[in-house]
Symmetry: C2
Subunit: 333 residues, 2 copies
Protein backbone atom coordinates (compact mmCIF):
# COMPACT_ATOMS: atom_id res chain seq x y z
CA UNK A 1 0.00 0.00 0.00
CA UNK A 2 1.01 3.60 -0.64
CA UNK A 3 0.34 6.12 2.11
CA UNK A 4 -0.18 9.54 0.63
CA UNK A 5 -1.33 13.00 1.67
CA UNK A 6 -4.14 14.50 -0.40
CA UNK A 7 -5.09 18.16 -0.48
CA UNK A 8 -8.81 18.21 0.34
CA UNK A 9 -9.42 21.85 1.30
CA UNK A 10 -7.63 25.01 0.21
CA UNK A 11 -5.95 26.34 3.37
CA UNK A 12 -6.90 29.75 4.68
CA UNK A 13 -4.04 31.10 6.75
CA UNK A 14 -1.87 28.42 8.32
CA UNK A 15 -2.80 24.98 6.89
CA UNK A 16 -4.99 22.91 9.23
CA UNK A 17 -5.01 19.12 9.70
CA UNK A 18 -8.43 19.05 8.06
CA UNK A 19 -7.03 20.58 4.85
CA UNK A 20 -5.30 17.26 4.20
CA UNK A 21 -6.33 13.62 4.12
CA UNK A 22 -4.07 10.64 4.76
CA UNK A 23 -4.98 8.12 2.08
CA UNK A 24 -4.04 4.46 1.56
CA UNK A 25 -3.81 3.82 -2.14
CA UNK A 26 -3.03 0.71 -4.12
CA UNK A 27 0.23 0.83 -6.01
CA UNK A 28 -0.83 0.54 -9.64
CA UNK A 29 0.74 -1.88 -12.12
CA UNK A 30 3.51 -0.30 -14.20
CA UNK A 31 2.76 0.49 -17.81
CA UNK A 32 5.40 0.05 -20.45
CA UNK A 33 8.12 2.68 -19.94
CA UNK A 34 7.28 3.40 -16.29
CA UNK A 35 9.20 3.04 -13.06
CA UNK A 36 8.16 2.69 -9.43
CA UNK A 37 10.05 4.88 -6.99
CA UNK A 38 10.06 4.15 -3.28
CA UNK A 39 10.40 7.55 -1.74
CA UNK A 40 12.62 7.87 1.28
CA UNK A 41 12.45 11.61 1.83
CA UNK A 42 10.02 14.43 1.11
CA UNK A 43 11.28 17.99 0.87
CA UNK A 44 9.17 20.52 2.76
CA UNK A 45 9.48 23.93 1.14
CA UNK A 46 7.78 27.31 1.53
CA UNK A 47 6.75 27.16 -2.13
CA UNK A 48 4.32 24.37 -1.23
CA UNK A 49 2.07 26.90 0.47
CA UNK A 50 1.74 28.69 -2.86
CA UNK A 51 0.95 25.46 -4.71
CA UNK A 52 -2.19 25.03 -2.58
CA UNK A 53 -3.64 28.34 -3.75
CA UNK A 54 -6.07 28.47 -6.61
CA UNK A 55 -4.35 31.36 -8.40
CA UNK A 56 -2.48 31.85 -11.65
CA UNK A 57 1.15 31.16 -10.87
CA UNK A 58 4.28 29.67 -12.40
CA UNK A 59 2.79 26.19 -12.01
CA UNK A 60 -0.86 25.09 -11.78
CA UNK A 61 -2.23 24.70 -8.25
CA UNK A 62 -2.60 21.23 -6.75
CA UNK A 63 -6.14 20.09 -7.41
CA UNK A 64 -8.48 19.21 -4.57
CA UNK A 65 -8.33 15.47 -3.93
CA UNK A 66 -4.89 15.20 -5.53
CA UNK A 67 -1.66 14.08 -3.88
CA UNK A 68 0.10 17.16 -2.48
CA UNK A 69 3.02 18.22 -4.66
CA UNK A 70 6.51 17.98 -3.14
CA UNK A 71 10.10 17.40 -4.10
CA UNK A 72 11.26 13.88 -3.25
CA UNK A 73 14.24 11.59 -3.08
CA UNK A 74 13.98 7.83 -3.46
CA UNK A 75 15.14 4.65 -5.13
CA UNK A 76 13.86 2.89 -8.22
CA UNK A 77 12.36 -0.39 -6.98
CA UNK A 78 10.60 -1.62 -10.12
CA UNK A 79 11.14 -0.95 -13.82
CA UNK A 80 8.99 -1.78 -16.80
CA UNK A 81 11.20 -1.33 -19.80
CA UNK A 82 12.57 2.18 -19.20
CA UNK A 83 15.46 3.49 -21.32
CA UNK A 84 17.07 5.71 -18.66
CA UNK A 85 16.36 4.30 -15.21
CA UNK A 86 17.33 0.96 -13.71
CA UNK A 87 16.67 -0.86 -10.45
CA UNK A 88 18.43 0.78 -7.52
CA UNK A 89 18.94 4.18 -9.11
CA UNK A 90 18.72 7.05 -6.63
CA UNK A 91 16.40 9.66 -8.10
CA UNK A 92 15.03 13.08 -7.25
CA UNK A 93 11.84 14.50 -8.66
CA UNK A 94 8.51 16.02 -7.81
CA UNK A 95 7.08 12.77 -6.49
CA UNK A 96 4.57 14.29 -4.09
CA UNK A 97 3.80 13.59 -0.46
CA UNK A 98 3.51 9.81 -0.69
CA UNK A 99 5.58 6.70 -0.12
CA UNK A 100 5.63 5.47 -3.69
CA UNK A 101 5.39 7.22 -7.02
CA UNK A 102 4.79 5.72 -10.44
CA UNK A 103 6.26 7.78 -13.26
CA UNK A 104 7.47 7.68 -16.83
CA UNK A 105 10.54 9.51 -15.52
CA UNK A 106 9.62 12.98 -16.75
CA UNK A 107 10.97 15.53 -14.29
CA UNK A 108 13.02 12.88 -12.46
CA UNK A 109 16.76 13.04 -12.32
CA UNK A 110 19.16 10.28 -11.45
CA UNK A 111 21.79 11.16 -8.86
CA UNK A 112 24.70 9.89 -10.91
CA UNK A 113 27.19 9.34 -8.16
CA UNK A 114 26.14 9.70 -4.56
CA UNK A 115 29.08 11.48 -2.98
CA UNK A 116 27.30 13.06 -0.07
CA UNK A 117 24.68 12.09 2.53
CA UNK A 118 21.39 11.40 0.77
CA UNK A 119 19.42 14.17 2.50
CA UNK A 120 21.78 16.78 1.04
CA UNK A 121 20.33 15.93 -2.36
CA UNK A 122 17.07 17.53 -1.20
CA UNK A 123 18.87 20.49 0.36
CA UNK A 124 22.10 22.04 -0.78
CA UNK A 125 22.33 19.65 -3.72
CA UNK A 126 18.60 19.78 -4.45
CA UNK A 127 16.08 22.42 -5.33
CA UNK A 128 16.94 24.84 -2.49
CA UNK A 129 20.60 24.71 -3.40
CA UNK A 130 19.85 25.17 -7.09
CA UNK A 131 17.66 28.14 -6.19
CA UNK A 132 20.46 29.67 -4.18
CA UNK A 133 23.12 29.02 -6.81
CA UNK A 134 21.29 30.44 -9.82
CA UNK A 135 19.52 33.06 -7.75
CA UNK A 136 22.61 34.73 -6.38
CA UNK A 137 24.96 34.19 -9.32
CA UNK A 138 22.61 34.64 -12.30
CA UNK A 139 19.63 36.65 -11.14
CA UNK A 140 21.60 38.62 -8.54
CA UNK A 141 24.55 39.03 -10.93
CA UNK A 142 26.87 38.76 -7.95
CA UNK A 143 30.29 40.34 -8.32
CA UNK A 144 33.29 39.52 -6.19
CA UNK A 145 33.65 41.68 -3.13
CA UNK A 146 30.11 43.05 -3.01
CA UNK A 147 27.92 43.50 0.06
CA UNK A 148 25.25 40.82 0.18
CA UNK A 149 22.29 40.56 2.54
CA UNK A 150 20.13 37.45 2.69
CA UNK A 151 16.97 36.83 4.70
CA UNK A 152 15.98 33.38 5.87
CA UNK A 153 19.73 33.08 6.36
CA UNK A 154 19.63 29.85 8.33
CA UNK A 155 17.21 28.24 5.90
CA UNK A 156 17.83 25.82 3.08
CA UNK A 157 18.16 28.52 0.42
CA UNK A 158 19.55 31.41 2.45
CA UNK A 159 22.35 29.40 4.04
CA UNK A 160 23.63 28.39 0.60
CA UNK A 161 23.25 31.91 -0.83
CA UNK A 162 25.42 33.32 1.92
CA UNK A 163 28.05 30.62 1.67
CA UNK A 164 28.38 31.05 -2.09
CA UNK A 165 28.75 34.79 -1.59
CA UNK A 166 31.47 34.19 1.00
CA UNK A 167 33.30 31.88 -1.42
CA UNK A 168 33.11 34.76 -3.94
CA UNK A 169 34.80 37.11 -1.48
CA UNK A 170 31.74 39.11 -0.54
CA UNK A 171 30.74 40.67 2.75
CA UNK A 172 27.68 38.70 3.82
CA UNK A 173 25.05 39.70 6.35
CA UNK A 174 22.26 37.30 7.21
CA UNK A 175 18.86 37.97 8.71
CA UNK A 176 17.34 35.14 10.76
CA UNK A 177 14.93 34.57 13.62
CA UNK A 178 16.53 33.90 16.99
CA UNK A 179 19.95 33.90 18.58
CA UNK A 180 20.69 30.22 17.87
CA UNK A 181 20.14 30.61 14.15
CA UNK A 182 22.22 33.77 14.03
CA UNK A 183 25.04 32.10 15.94
CA UNK A 184 24.92 29.17 13.53
CA UNK A 185 25.04 31.43 10.50
CA UNK A 186 28.03 33.39 11.77
CA UNK A 187 29.99 30.72 13.65
CA UNK A 188 29.31 27.67 11.51
CA UNK A 189 28.67 29.10 8.06
CA UNK A 190 31.09 32.01 8.26
CA UNK A 191 28.75 34.91 7.51
CA UNK A 192 30.20 38.25 8.58
CA UNK A 193 27.16 39.12 10.68
CA UNK A 194 23.58 38.10 11.28
CA UNK A 195 20.65 40.22 12.42
CA UNK A 196 18.13 38.51 14.69
CA UNK A 197 14.91 40.05 13.43
CA UNK A 198 12.96 38.69 16.40
CA UNK A 199 15.07 40.58 18.91
CA UNK A 200 16.83 43.33 16.96
CA UNK A 201 15.84 46.31 14.86
CA UNK A 202 16.57 45.25 11.29
CA UNK A 203 17.00 48.81 10.00
CA UNK A 204 19.56 49.55 12.68
CA UNK A 205 21.31 46.24 12.07
CA UNK A 206 21.61 46.86 8.35
CA UNK A 207 22.94 50.34 9.00
CA UNK A 208 25.53 48.93 11.36
CA UNK A 209 26.67 46.00 9.25
CA UNK A 210 26.30 47.60 5.79
CA UNK A 211 27.56 51.14 6.39
CA UNK A 212 28.04 51.67 2.65
CA UNK A 213 24.78 50.01 1.67
CA UNK A 214 23.73 46.75 0.05
CA UNK A 215 24.71 45.57 -3.44
CA UNK A 216 22.59 42.42 -3.54
CA UNK A 217 19.64 41.59 -1.34
CA UNK A 218 18.34 38.05 -1.66
CA UNK A 219 14.77 38.02 -0.37
CA UNK A 220 13.09 34.92 0.97
CA UNK A 221 10.67 36.63 3.31
CA UNK A 222 9.05 39.82 1.97
CA UNK A 223 7.18 42.15 4.31
CA UNK A 224 8.99 44.61 6.55
CA UNK A 225 12.39 43.04 6.06
CA UNK A 226 12.18 43.64 2.31
CA UNK A 227 11.36 47.26 3.06
CA UNK A 228 14.29 47.57 5.42
CA UNK A 229 16.65 46.22 2.77
CA UNK A 230 15.20 48.49 0.08
CA UNK A 231 15.85 51.43 2.36
CA UNK A 232 19.53 50.55 2.48
CA UNK A 233 20.45 49.60 -1.11
CA UNK A 234 23.26 51.37 -2.89
CA UNK A 235 23.52 52.41 -6.53
CA UNK A 236 22.72 49.69 -9.08
CA UNK A 237 21.72 47.19 -6.39
CA UNK A 238 19.93 44.00 -7.33
CA UNK A 239 17.11 42.50 -5.30
CA UNK A 240 16.34 38.86 -5.97
CA UNK A 241 12.72 37.99 -5.23
CA UNK A 242 12.90 34.31 -4.39
CA UNK A 243 10.06 34.07 -1.92
CA UNK A 244 7.98 35.88 0.67
CA UNK A 245 7.37 33.46 3.50
CA UNK A 246 6.11 36.22 5.80
CA UNK A 247 3.19 36.71 3.42
CA UNK A 248 2.25 33.16 2.40
CA UNK A 249 -0.27 32.57 5.15
CA UNK A 250 -1.62 36.10 5.08
CA UNK A 251 -5.40 36.18 5.03
CA UNK A 252 -5.44 39.77 3.84
CA UNK A 253 -3.60 41.49 1.00
CA UNK A 254 0.09 40.90 0.57
CA UNK A 255 2.09 43.82 1.96
CA UNK A 256 3.79 45.54 -0.94
CA UNK A 257 7.20 47.12 -0.39
CA UNK A 258 6.53 50.77 0.52
CA UNK A 259 10.18 51.59 -0.09
CA UNK A 260 10.10 50.43 -3.71
CA UNK A 261 10.90 53.97 -4.92
CA UNK A 262 14.38 53.36 -3.57
CA UNK A 263 14.76 51.40 -6.83
CA UNK A 264 14.34 54.69 -8.67
CA UNK A 265 16.66 56.70 -6.44
CA UNK A 266 19.36 54.04 -6.63
CA UNK A 267 18.70 52.71 -10.15
CA UNK A 268 18.05 49.38 -8.53
CA UNK A 269 16.65 46.22 -10.06
CA UNK A 270 14.15 43.87 -8.44
CA UNK A 271 13.81 40.60 -10.26
CA UNK A 272 11.76 37.50 -9.62
CA UNK A 273 12.99 33.96 -10.14
CA UNK A 274 11.73 30.39 -10.34
CA UNK A 275 14.36 27.70 -10.11
CA UNK A 276 12.75 25.42 -12.71
CA UNK A 277 14.03 27.77 -15.43
CA UNK A 278 17.54 26.52 -14.72
CA UNK A 279 16.77 22.79 -14.88
CA UNK A 280 19.09 22.27 -17.84
CA UNK A 281 21.98 23.54 -15.71
CA UNK A 282 21.25 21.77 -12.41
CA UNK A 283 24.09 19.35 -13.01
CA UNK A 284 26.65 22.10 -13.36
CA UNK A 285 25.55 23.60 -10.04
CA UNK A 286 25.39 20.24 -8.28
CA UNK A 287 28.91 19.28 -9.32
CA UNK A 288 30.25 22.64 -8.18
CA UNK A 289 28.54 22.43 -4.81
CA UNK A 290 29.49 18.79 -4.22
CA UNK A 291 33.04 19.96 -4.73
CA UNK A 292 32.67 22.81 -2.26
CA UNK A 293 31.05 20.47 0.28
CA UNK A 294 33.77 17.86 -0.15
CA UNK A 295 36.45 20.51 0.23
CA UNK A 296 34.83 21.77 3.41
CA UNK A 297 34.18 25.20 1.90
CA UNK A 298 30.46 24.78 2.35
CA UNK A 299 28.29 23.14 4.99
CA UNK A 300 24.85 21.63 4.69
CA UNK A 301 22.41 20.89 7.47
CA UNK A 302 19.14 19.05 7.26
CA UNK A 303 16.48 18.71 9.91
CA UNK A 304 14.73 15.39 9.33
CA UNK A 305 11.39 14.42 10.88
CA UNK A 306 9.68 11.08 10.45
CA UNK A 307 6.28 9.81 9.43
CA UNK A 308 4.00 10.84 6.63
CA UNK A 309 1.16 11.19 9.15
CA UNK A 310 3.10 14.09 10.72
CA UNK A 311 3.09 16.04 7.46
CA UNK A 312 1.00 19.02 8.54
CA UNK A 313 2.64 19.62 11.90
CA UNK A 314 6.09 19.27 10.32
CA UNK A 315 5.12 21.69 7.56
CA UNK A 316 4.26 24.27 10.23
CA UNK A 317 7.91 24.36 11.22
CA UNK A 318 8.58 26.25 7.98
CA UNK A 319 6.36 29.05 9.17
CA UNK A 320 7.07 29.13 12.90
CA UNK A 321 10.79 28.76 12.35
CA UNK A 322 11.13 25.71 14.65
CA UNK A 323 13.60 23.89 12.49
CA UNK A 324 17.29 23.68 12.19
CA UNK A 325 18.38 23.45 8.56
CA UNK A 326 16.63 22.12 5.49
CA UNK A 327 13.25 20.65 6.56
CA UNK A 328 12.76 17.07 5.41
CA UNK A 329 10.16 14.41 6.16
CA UNK A 330 11.21 10.77 6.06
CA UNK A 331 8.26 8.78 4.73
CA UNK A 332 9.72 5.33 4.11
CA UNK A 333 9.05 2.91 6.95
CA UNK B 1 15.91 92.81 -11.11
CA UNK B 2 15.51 89.04 -11.02
CA UNK B 3 12.18 87.67 -9.83
CA UNK B 4 12.66 84.27 -8.29
CA UNK B 5 10.73 81.69 -6.29
CA UNK B 6 12.36 80.55 -3.07
CA UNK B 7 11.43 77.43 -1.13
CA UNK B 8 10.73 78.66 2.40
CA UNK B 9 8.82 75.77 3.97
CA UNK B 10 8.90 72.05 3.18
CA UNK B 11 5.46 71.23 1.75
CA UNK B 12 3.25 68.73 3.54
CA UNK B 13 0.82 67.23 1.06
CA UNK B 14 0.00 69.54 -1.85
CA UNK B 15 2.38 72.56 -1.84
CA UNK B 16 0.78 75.74 -0.46
CA UNK B 17 1.40 79.35 -1.50
CA UNK B 18 3.08 79.93 1.83
CA UNK B 19 5.69 77.26 1.12
CA UNK B 20 7.19 79.63 -1.45
CA UNK B 21 8.33 83.23 -1.46
CA UNK B 22 8.49 85.51 -4.48
CA UNK B 23 11.80 87.33 -4.16
CA UNK B 24 13.29 90.27 -6.05
CA UNK B 25 17.03 89.78 -6.26
CA UNK B 26 19.76 91.86 -7.77
CA UNK B 27 21.45 90.31 -10.77
CA UNK B 28 25.05 89.90 -9.65
CA UNK B 29 28.06 91.00 -11.68
CA UNK B 30 29.53 88.19 -13.76
CA UNK B 31 32.81 86.68 -12.64
CA UNK B 32 35.39 85.61 -15.15
CA UNK B 33 34.07 82.56 -17.08
CA UNK B 34 30.42 83.17 -16.25
CA UNK B 35 27.36 83.83 -18.37
CA UNK B 36 24.00 85.45 -17.66
CA UNK B 37 20.98 83.56 -18.98
CA UNK B 38 17.64 85.24 -19.41
CA UNK B 39 15.20 82.43 -18.86
CA UNK B 40 12.16 82.34 -21.07
CA UNK B 41 10.59 79.12 -19.89
CA UNK B 42 10.56 77.00 -16.74
CA UNK B 43 9.76 73.32 -16.93
CA UNK B 44 7.28 72.12 -14.31
CA UNK B 45 7.86 68.45 -13.57
CA UNK B 46 6.58 65.92 -11.02
CA UNK B 47 10.16 65.32 -9.87
CA UNK B 48 10.14 68.84 -8.37
CA UNK B 49 7.86 67.62 -5.60
CA UNK B 50 10.56 65.15 -4.60
CA UNK B 51 13.26 67.82 -4.63
CA UNK B 52 11.42 69.72 -1.88
CA UNK B 53 11.65 66.75 0.51
CA UNK B 54 14.44 66.52 3.04
CA UNK B 55 15.28 62.89 2.30
CA UNK B 56 18.21 61.00 0.81
CA UNK B 57 17.56 60.80 -2.91
CA UNK B 58 19.35 60.87 -6.24
CA UNK B 59 20.01 64.60 -5.80
CA UNK B 60 20.21 66.72 -2.62
CA UNK B 61 16.98 68.46 -1.61
CA UNK B 62 16.52 72.15 -2.32
CA UNK B 63 17.58 74.03 0.81
CA UNK B 64 15.15 76.29 2.63
CA UNK B 65 15.59 79.86 1.41
CA UNK B 66 17.10 78.69 -1.88
CA UNK B 67 15.74 79.26 -5.38
CA UNK B 68 13.49 76.32 -6.29
CA UNK B 69 15.23 73.92 -8.65
CA UNK B 70 13.73 73.57 -12.16
CA UNK B 71 14.72 72.83 -15.70
CA UNK B 72 14.87 75.96 -17.84
CA UNK B 73 15.27 77.29 -21.35
CA UNK B 74 16.68 80.70 -22.14
CA UNK B 75 19.15 82.84 -24.03
CA UNK B 76 22.63 83.98 -23.12
CA UNK B 77 22.38 87.76 -22.68
CA UNK B 78 25.78 88.50 -21.18
CA UNK B 79 29.14 86.73 -21.31
CA UNK B 80 32.29 87.27 -19.31
CA UNK B 81 34.99 85.42 -21.14
CA UNK B 82 33.39 81.99 -21.51
CA UNK B 83 34.97 79.37 -23.79
CA UNK B 84 31.75 77.62 -24.88
CA UNK B 85 28.86 80.06 -24.77
CA UNK B 86 28.36 83.27 -26.70
CA UNK B 87 25.75 86.02 -26.76
CA UNK B 88 22.44 84.82 -28.15
CA UNK B 89 22.98 81.11 -27.60
CA UNK B 90 19.82 79.21 -26.72
CA UNK B 91 20.55 77.06 -23.68
CA UNK B 92 18.81 74.54 -21.47
CA UNK B 93 19.85 73.76 -17.94
CA UNK B 94 18.70 73.52 -14.37
CA UNK B 95 18.40 77.28 -13.97
CA UNK B 96 15.73 77.24 -11.28
CA UNK B 97 12.47 79.11 -10.93
CA UNK B 98 13.76 82.60 -11.69
CA UNK B 99 14.02 85.05 -14.57
CA UNK B 100 17.80 85.16 -14.77
CA UNK B 101 20.51 82.73 -13.87
CA UNK B 102 24.22 83.33 -13.54
CA UNK B 103 26.31 80.26 -14.22
CA UNK B 104 29.73 79.02 -15.22
CA UNK B 105 27.89 76.84 -17.72
CA UNK B 106 28.13 73.57 -15.81
CA UNK B 107 25.02 71.51 -16.51
CA UNK B 108 23.94 73.87 -19.30
CA UNK B 109 23.66 72.70 -22.86
CA UNK B 110 23.53 74.79 -25.98
CA UNK B 111 20.73 73.94 -28.39
CA UNK B 112 22.99 73.72 -31.43
CA UNK B 113 20.44 74.26 -34.11
CA UNK B 114 16.90 75.23 -33.21
CA UNK B 115 14.81 73.18 -35.61
CA UNK B 116 11.62 73.03 -33.63
CA UNK B 117 9.47 75.39 -31.53
CA UNK B 118 11.43 76.47 -28.46
CA UNK B 119 9.05 74.96 -25.92
CA UNK B 120 9.65 71.49 -27.35
CA UNK B 121 13.19 71.73 -26.00
CA UNK B 122 11.71 71.51 -22.50
CA UNK B 123 9.33 68.71 -23.48
CA UNK B 124 9.91 66.06 -26.08
CA UNK B 125 13.41 67.37 -26.80
CA UNK B 126 14.15 68.11 -23.14
CA UNK B 127 14.31 66.15 -19.96
CA UNK B 128 10.90 64.46 -20.26
CA UNK B 129 11.70 63.31 -23.78
CA UNK B 130 15.13 62.07 -22.72
CA UNK B 131 13.49 60.20 -19.84
CA UNK B 132 11.05 58.56 -22.21
CA UNK B 133 13.69 57.68 -24.78
CA UNK B 134 16.23 56.06 -22.47
CA UNK B 135 13.55 54.71 -20.16
CA UNK B 136 11.69 52.69 -22.75
CA UNK B 137 14.61 51.73 -24.98
CA UNK B 138 17.40 51.13 -22.45
CA UNK B 139 15.79 50.45 -19.08
CA UNK B 140 12.70 48.81 -20.58
CA UNK B 141 14.79 46.94 -23.16
CA UNK B 142 11.95 47.34 -25.64
CA UNK B 143 11.78 44.84 -28.45
CA UNK B 144 9.90 45.33 -31.69
CA UNK B 145 6.34 44.11 -31.60
CA UNK B 146 5.93 43.86 -27.83
CA UNK B 147 2.91 44.92 -25.79
CA UNK B 148 3.62 48.18 -23.96
CA UNK B 149 1.51 49.90 -21.33
CA UNK B 150 2.29 53.41 -20.13
CA UNK B 151 0.62 55.42 -17.38
CA UNK B 152 0.50 59.19 -17.46
CA UNK B 153 0.01 58.55 -21.17
CA UNK B 154 -0.97 62.10 -22.08
CA UNK B 155 1.87 63.57 -20.06
CA UNK B 156 5.24 64.85 -21.16
CA UNK B 157 7.02 61.55 -20.58
CA UNK B 158 4.23 59.05 -21.23
CA UNK B 159 3.21 60.55 -24.56
CA UNK B 160 6.75 60.17 -25.87
CA UNK B 161 7.15 56.65 -24.45
CA UNK B 162 4.06 55.49 -26.30
CA UNK B 163 4.99 57.17 -29.56
CA UNK B 164 8.47 55.64 -29.54
CA UNK B 165 6.93 52.23 -28.88
CA UNK B 166 4.54 52.75 -31.82
CA UNK B 167 7.46 53.69 -34.06
CA UNK B 168 9.08 50.40 -32.94
CA UNK B 169 6.02 48.45 -34.06
CA UNK B 170 4.63 47.71 -30.63
CA UNK B 171 1.06 47.48 -29.42
CA UNK B 172 0.66 50.44 -27.08
CA UNK B 173 -1.98 50.96 -24.41
CA UNK B 174 -2.07 54.20 -22.48
CA UNK B 175 -3.60 54.96 -19.10
CA UNK B 176 -4.73 58.55 -18.54
CA UNK B 177 -7.25 60.55 -16.56
CA UNK B 178 -10.33 61.65 -18.47
CA UNK B 179 -11.94 61.12 -21.85
CA UNK B 180 -10.24 64.10 -23.52
CA UNK B 181 -6.77 62.87 -22.69
CA UNK B 182 -7.62 59.34 -23.79
CA UNK B 183 -9.03 60.61 -27.07
CA UNK B 184 -5.91 62.68 -27.62
CA UNK B 185 -3.63 59.73 -26.95
CA UNK B 186 -5.47 57.44 -29.35
CA UNK B 187 -6.56 59.84 -32.07
CA UNK B 188 -3.63 62.26 -32.15
CA UNK B 189 -0.71 60.16 -30.93
CA UNK B 190 -1.78 56.85 -32.46
CA UNK B 191 -1.83 54.64 -29.37
CA UNK B 192 -3.85 51.46 -29.91
CA UNK B 193 -6.02 52.10 -26.87
CA UNK B 194 -6.21 54.23 -23.74
CA UNK B 195 -7.83 53.41 -20.41
CA UNK B 196 -9.47 56.32 -18.59
CA UNK B 197 -8.62 55.48 -14.99
CA UNK B 198 -11.03 58.09 -13.67
CA UNK B 199 -14.03 56.45 -15.32
CA UNK B 200 -12.98 52.90 -16.14
CA UNK B 201 -11.77 49.86 -14.24
CA UNK B 202 -8.07 49.63 -15.02
CA UNK B 203 -7.85 45.87 -14.38
CA UNK B 204 -10.69 45.22 -16.80
CA UNK B 205 -9.23 47.59 -19.36
CA UNK B 206 -5.83 45.91 -19.26
CA UNK B 207 -7.47 42.52 -19.60
CA UNK B 208 -9.40 43.73 -22.63
CA UNK B 209 -6.58 45.53 -24.41
CA UNK B 210 -3.71 43.21 -23.42
CA UNK B 211 -5.30 39.76 -23.67
CA UNK B 212 -1.86 38.10 -23.78
CA UNK B 213 -0.39 40.28 -21.06
CA UNK B 214 2.11 43.11 -20.86
CA UNK B 215 5.76 42.95 -21.92
CA UNK B 216 6.81 46.40 -20.77
CA UNK B 217 5.00 48.61 -18.29
CA UNK B 218 6.34 52.15 -18.00
CA UNK B 219 5.19 53.55 -14.66
CA UNK B 220 4.82 57.24 -13.97
CA UNK B 221 2.16 57.01 -11.30
CA UNK B 222 2.58 54.13 -8.81
CA UNK B 223 -0.28 53.21 -6.50
CA UNK B 224 -3.15 51.04 -7.67
CA UNK B 225 -2.32 51.39 -11.34
CA UNK B 226 1.12 49.87 -10.77
CA UNK B 227 -0.61 46.97 -9.02
CA UNK B 228 -3.04 46.50 -11.88
CA UNK B 229 -0.18 46.35 -14.38
CA UNK B 230 1.80 43.92 -12.20
CA UNK B 231 -1.22 41.67 -12.14
CA UNK B 232 -1.17 41.48 -15.92
CA UNK B 233 2.51 41.10 -16.86
CA UNK B 234 3.65 38.20 -18.95
CA UNK B 235 6.83 36.15 -18.72
CA UNK B 236 10.07 38.16 -18.56
CA UNK B 237 8.21 41.48 -18.44
CA UNK B 238 10.06 44.66 -17.56
CA UNK B 239 8.61 47.39 -15.38
CA UNK B 240 10.30 50.77 -15.62
CA UNK B 241 9.93 52.79 -12.43
CA UNK B 242 10.15 56.37 -13.67
CA UNK B 243 7.92 58.08 -11.15
CA UNK B 244 4.99 57.72 -8.80
CA UNK B 245 2.99 60.91 -9.05
CA UNK B 246 0.01 59.39 -7.21
CA UNK B 247 2.23 59.09 -4.12
CA UNK B 248 4.24 62.33 -4.15
CA UNK B 249 1.83 64.37 -2.06
CA UNK B 250 0.95 61.48 0.24
CA UNK B 251 1.07 62.47 3.89
CA UNK B 252 1.20 58.84 4.98
CA UNK B 253 3.38 55.95 3.85
CA UNK B 254 3.86 55.31 0.16
CA UNK B 255 1.64 52.45 -1.03
CA UNK B 256 3.89 49.58 -2.00
CA UNK B 257 2.84 47.31 -4.88
CA UNK B 258 0.95 44.39 -3.27
CA UNK B 259 1.23 42.45 -6.51
CA UNK B 260 5.02 42.52 -6.55
CA UNK B 261 5.16 38.72 -6.28
CA UNK B 262 3.96 38.68 -9.85
CA UNK B 263 7.62 39.47 -10.58
CA UNK B 264 8.47 36.04 -9.17
CA UNK B 265 5.71 34.16 -10.95
CA UNK B 266 6.57 35.79 -14.28
CA UNK B 267 10.34 36.21 -13.80
CA UNK B 268 9.74 39.92 -14.18
CA UNK B 269 12.12 42.79 -13.64
CA UNK B 270 11.30 46.10 -11.98
CA UNK B 271 13.99 48.70 -12.48
CA UNK B 272 14.29 52.31 -11.40
CA UNK B 273 15.76 55.07 -13.53
CA UNK B 274 16.98 58.64 -13.29
CA UNK B 275 17.46 60.45 -16.58
CA UNK B 276 20.63 62.27 -15.51
CA UNK B 277 22.56 59.00 -15.93
CA UNK B 278 22.14 59.36 -19.69
CA UNK B 279 23.37 62.96 -19.97
CA UNK B 280 26.28 61.97 -22.20
CA UNK B 281 23.82 60.58 -24.73
CA UNK B 282 21.16 63.33 -24.71
CA UNK B 283 22.35 64.60 -28.04
CA UNK B 284 21.84 61.24 -29.74
CA UNK B 285 18.27 61.08 -28.45
CA UNK B 286 17.53 64.71 -29.32
CA UNK B 287 18.70 64.30 -32.90
CA UNK B 288 16.63 61.16 -33.32
CA UNK B 289 13.50 62.76 -31.93
CA UNK B 290 13.94 66.00 -33.89
CA UNK B 291 14.01 63.79 -36.94
CA UNK B 292 10.84 61.96 -35.93
CA UNK B 293 9.11 65.27 -35.17
CA UNK B 294 10.19 66.79 -38.48
CA UNK B 295 9.01 63.71 -40.33
CA UNK B 296 5.64 63.86 -38.61
CA UNK B 297 6.15 60.49 -36.93
CA UNK B 298 5.93 62.06 -33.52
CA UNK B 299 3.91 64.91 -32.04
CA UNK B 300 4.71 67.17 -29.15
CA UNK B 301 2.32 69.32 -27.19
CA UNK B 302 3.12 71.89 -24.55
CA UNK B 303 0.75 73.69 -22.24
CA UNK B 304 2.28 77.07 -21.46
CA UNK B 305 1.16 79.34 -18.61
CA UNK B 306 2.56 82.76 -17.87
CA UNK B 307 3.96 84.61 -14.92
CA UNK B 308 6.43 83.52 -12.29
CA UNK B 309 3.98 84.73 -9.60
CA UNK B 310 1.63 81.95 -10.74
CA UNK B 311 4.20 79.25 -10.01
CA UNK B 312 2.38 77.40 -7.23
CA UNK B 313 -1.05 77.33 -8.83
CA UNK B 314 0.46 76.23 -12.13
CA UNK B 315 2.46 73.52 -10.38
CA UNK B 316 -0.81 72.13 -8.98
CA UNK B 317 -1.88 71.28 -12.52
CA UNK B 318 0.68 68.45 -12.46
CA UNK B 319 -1.19 66.84 -9.61
CA UNK B 320 -4.82 67.60 -10.49
CA UNK B 321 -4.27 66.74 -14.14
CA UNK B 322 -5.61 70.08 -15.43
CA UNK B 323 -3.10 70.45 -18.18
CA UNK B 324 -2.85 69.51 -21.75
CA UNK B 325 0.66 68.41 -22.66
CA UNK B 326 4.02 69.28 -21.17
CA UNK B 327 3.50 71.88 -18.41
CA UNK B 328 5.62 75.00 -18.88
CA UNK B 329 5.71 78.38 -17.17
CA UNK B 330 6.81 81.41 -19.19
CA UNK B 331 8.72 83.69 -16.84
CA UNK B 332 10.22 86.29 -19.16
CA UNK B 333 8.20 89.48 -19.35
Amino acid sequence: MNKQILLVERPVGLPKDSDWKLNNAEIPELQDGEILVEQDYISLDPAMRGWTKDVRSYIPPVGLGEVMRAGTLGRVVKVNNHPNFKLGDVVTGIGGVQQYSVTNGKGYQKVESVQRPLTEYLGTLGMPGMTAYFGILEVGELKDGEVVVVSGAAGAVGSVVGQIAKIKGCTVVGIAGGKDKCDYVVNELGFDACIDYKNENVNAGLKQHCPKGIDVYFDNVGGEILDAALGRIRMHARIVICGAISQYNSETTVKGPSNYLSLLVNRGTMRGMVVFDYAARYNEARLQMEKWLNEGKMKSKEDVYEGIENFNETLHRLFNGQKNGKLILKVSE
